[in-house]
Subunit: 472 residues, 2 copies
Amino acid sequence: MEIPLKIIILFTSVIRVINTSVVINRFDDDDCELDAELVEEIASYENVTKRIMEEIRSNFGEVMYNEYTRFIDTFGARPSGTEVLERSIDHMINLTKHHGLNDVTTEELQVPHWVRVHESASMLQPHVKNIAILGFGSSVSTPPEGITAEAIVINSFDELDKTDKKTIEGKIVVFDAHYVTYGDTVVYRSQGASKAAKKGAIATLVRSITPFSIYSPHTGGQYYEKNVPKIPTAAITLEDADLMRRLQNAGDKIVLHIKMLSTSDTKTSRNTLVDLKGSVHPEKLVIVSGHIDSWDVGQGAMDDGGGMMISWFTPVILNILKLKPKRTVRAILWTAEEPGLIGAQAYLKKHMNDLDNINFIMESDEGTFKPLGLDVAGSKKARCIVKEVLKQFAPINKLTNSGYPGSDIVIFVHQGIPGASLLNENERYFWYHHSEGDTMNVQTMKDVVDCAAFWAAFSYVIADLSVDIPRQ
Amino acid sequence: MEIPLKIIILFTSVIRVINTSVVINRFDDDDCELDAELVEEIASYENVTKRIMEEIRSNFGEVMYNEYTRFIDTFGARPSGTEVLERSIDHMINLTKHHGLNDVTTEELQVPHWVRVHESASMLQPHVKNIAILGFGSSVSTPPEGITAEAIVINSFDELDKTDKKTIEGKIVVFDAHYVTYGDTVVYRSQGASKAAKKGAIATLVRSITPFSIYSPHTGGQYYEKNVPKIPTAAITLEDADLMRRLQNAGDKIVLHIKMLSTSDTKTSRNTLVDLKGSVHPEKLVIVSGHIDSWDVGQGAMDDGGGMMISWFTPVILNILKLKPKRTVRAILWTAEEPGLIGAQAYLKKHMNDLDNINFIMESDEGTFKPLGLDVAGSKKARCIVKEVLKQFAPINKLTNSGYPGSDIVIFVHQGIPGASLLNENERYFWYHHSEGDTMNVQTMKDVVDCAAFWAAFSYVIADLSVDIPRQ
């Protein structure tokens, strides 16, 4: 998952949802008062939700998981703008039809195509040592001969602000902000280069945004400010950040050499829409979604292969089970989420006049580990309906309302559309996130199947209720 | 720590000690019967052991930890045969004198000098993917153009034995044995190349010997059998081993390209001996030890910077505290442990006629995490004395007797010399072992200081007791 700059700026106070152990609720929904009739109607779905979950857990889940594994192992990393991403989209289109659902369409858009060609770094002083780096998406290259310069380790933007420009000028700034939450710490990755460049830095290296490392650098998006020199920027490991901090504290002069080469252009990609048309209100949509693109390291199995797959599976399995809800269930496989929600933004723009028809929008992009419940955005009544529906999924009935439910769907939520993202036991999510460690090894069949079962059954109820999820 | 082939062959059934959670005891020492006088004498040390531990925990431990950190950050990895290892040895000699102990000598020996020059690997079929590799020490190079060949994933030596030679010939064997214990699983690293070569394999890649990975390959020693073709051999990550296993199971043909270049010669290195001479029996030795060399990845902070440092610190702090036991306390900083206990073997050979004077030999080479007690080798009476001494260190009073206490000291133990290695909370030891993850980040000051306090105080008692530790 990714958080674009404008979202970060809008929501720095509430983007703590990503690690479910630190979700901050904005509202207390202990006092829900729904009509007795609606409560009764919701309760009446218990048989069908039980059936959906049982069918997935006992029969179809394994097929789905095997398709998921095969997808990940066949395509691996699927960066925005690449051919492999487009082939993986073709694969999912074919897979949809193969599993009996033909209502699959795509919507083209232009996406960034940033390619990591070569990267290397080493410490030259006080002693020679290789430094593992991983450039951030959209980083500029160094000159061909690389950059050799003294490094200065900086703890925070506050410390940067307080440091004389003369002390920074001509140096490589090493941001050594320790992980607090993703939202708190990711700003050094996403904004660090321009902030340091304004002080005269010639490159930045950023402590990876993770609480734990086995010498693994983590990439991610970053955003240059307008009218500020663009300087190369890359992740380093926790281990090397700590080493440089200790060396600086001991009075050692640190000299680094960095070489980075990347290319950047624009390509065509596609959002993929898989519809199970509604039986009564086909124009009304309950959207379930995940993104099909990934960073260029690891396999993109967790971010967001799992979320994409359980969302894709939702209309497919409901169709197989011949369960046709009143509203259309649309799975969207977003493209180009990682460079900044590019696919979601294109969809929003294209469908701006139809937004009223989106009844509810869901996303899974924070892991498909053991499912716990939902982080819900919307009016109090919307949250209360979700809460009532979740009761029949206990123990998968946790409900939070962080105000930042997911990544791609946030731009819809901020148009007033109610939505929810999957809460799951993702305490180790950032150990692997945007790194070579994001592989099938972090997933288990049981967890992913449980997520898929919950995802499909919950969506079915929302799509079939007699009432729309109210915006007010 | 390292386990040389001959030790593995001798002790495959008992080398489970390394992860303390799976220590298998060979004897039950619940029925110790020591002389009342000796029990009383041991109890009388309680004041002095408390004082030693208190002085280290409150005063000198922090100095030691800072020296340790500075040592690791200054020299980093210290592979056998390198100049940096020799400079790090010089540093420890100077540090000994700086802290007031002048009785420091070195003994020269010839050590292997294997240098990793270049390594790379990629999967060419069924799709192109970079494969992280880390060659095993003493591996031969590939031809300059590399090796391109089909891979076959093999689960065990048993499966290898049962597979037709024709099926293996000309292929790269990928050993995918899952971690059980280090002792059980390391054989694929140490013996896999020759076993596969006998079947006609042209290279081997081995699933890293670790229960957990964030895409981190782990190196280590390996041993070619005589009269068997020497083929290149390297570690791969758990993630890529699992990927190749899944691809093979799905019927895909896997083609790999491997390029490895290394050099190999012999250099002079030194074991370092730091003596606090005994007040009554200076010729009798209580040895405390760890190895100063490391693999060429990471910082060698855990393996075995910590063990080397707490052992070095033992005579140094006793001297500072003006505690001169009856016997000599000798710290030995073994050189060239990683290529196969080369330093320890040279010491054993050189001192073969003085072995009777080694009263007890200790080693810390399995981590300096929270100390738990000792794994003891020796006669029942020896174990019972250690057990009695440990009582005053509770809760650091766990006693096991696996038969394989440590690595370097095992060759002394098998000469009949009683000895012990440090038990500690090292459940994550193999997450970092022989990888880029072996850095100061895995250590904490509290744990290392606690290890040092226990190590020094325990050694003092053993070195000062009125009775020798009995061999029978």
